[in-house]
Amino acid sequence: MSATALHAAPRLSMTQVLVCGALIVTLSMGIRHGFGLWLQPITMDRGWSRETFAFAIAIQNLAWGLAGPFAGMLADKYGAMRVLMVGSVLYAAGLVLMALATSGLAFTGSAGLLLGLAQSGTTYAVIYGVIARQVDPAKRSWAMGVAAAAGSFGQFLMVPVENWLIGGFGWQNALFVLGCLSLAIIPLAFGLREPPAAVTPGPKQSVGAALKEAFGYNSFRLLTLGYFVCGFQVVFIGVHLPSYLRDQGLSPNVATTALALIGLFNVFGTYAAGSLGQRLAKRHILVTIYALRAVAITIFVLSPLTPLGVYIFASVMGVLWLSTVPPTNAIVAQIFGVQYMSMLSGFVFLSHQIGSFLGVWMGGLLFDATGSYDIVWWISVALSAIAVAANLPVRETPIVRALPQAA
């Protein structure tokens, strides 16, 4: 055995990390993606307004974003396995209580708060911390691409599965089934149990020092700004595109096919972005993604609307959909190292969620005010330009830290 092998920190096998991590994000991202399918059965059965349902989902997204840095901090300190297990239990509890809730407050507490907390402990930030620590840097971006592709596949897969569950078993039983399914994260979390030495390799840095360093570093702030734009665009399009197409006189089938194409091409896009990150500068990948989004939206809005045009737009946007996730997180790991990877990813993701919230909210607000989505489309294009400008000067090289002085 070589000296290097003897002294290297013990690591989990890459296959194990990828299989377990991919299955966990398939479940956690997939289950949440179909929640909209419960809108009609729940509001009709409980006699609630759509606003009650929508408010709970909005709270869920904010809770997910706000709790993300704390879940990441705990994962960095105590290992991802424990956080994933707690997240899994919260996920199951949230789904079961969502099925049993008979008041708006209880629904907001379960479908909103509990599920938001659960997602913060079972999604990308926590999994990416393990990948960053356990996978060789030479393959890190690719591995993050695989995990992101798995999450994208989960989103794509679970919508028809949840639709089938609701149709076959009723909305309440469907939630119970999903609650049981979310508990599968617990055994999978064992596969991400990191050897103690690998959790905090190298000289230790305090949480406060890590935060001060990250937020004082221009590239981190710029990456965070870029991710805000990603959240705004993706969620505005995901939520408002069907209404936009219907308003333009296209049939619901066109909207469904467009969403399916986004889901399909998203799987390829995330994988490709991760793979390309091994060979190209990641900031250039991000700049290209945001620039192409601007071009695609501009052509889509200015061209006459036809089903074929919608399908082409949806396919292009699908490729660009979550493809920002692997390069953004890989840059964070590259600059700051892996000790606080999950926590820092959580902060970057919080910005994404604020963008998501504004994308949905402003889409509705400006549509109500002007009777059209035109302004929001052009805001999306302008934000793309800002994201391009923000990502261009990002420095991907590891930050230089002063060595502690010898006594």
Binding site: Q40, F156, I166
Partner: protein, 55 residues
């Protein structure tokens, strides 16, 4: 015995290539099946009447 010999590099490469091809074929089939599920008429109805599914 010839069977005890390690596989030749070209045979090992071919096996690796076949394995990769099989994985891609499996992934393409899975994606195709899910895509077909999205295009079912009841999905169109469900998605057309929902408001927040992607949020």
């Amino acid at each position: 015995m010839g069977t005890d010999l390690p596989p030749s590099p070209s045979r090992a490469a071919a096996a690796g290539h076949m394995r990769r091809l099989a994985l891609w074929a499996l992934a393409a089939t899975a994606l195709g099946l899910v895509f077909a599920a999205w295009l079912q008429p009841d999905m169109a109805f469900a998605l057309a009447t929902r408001a927040w599914s992607c949020f």
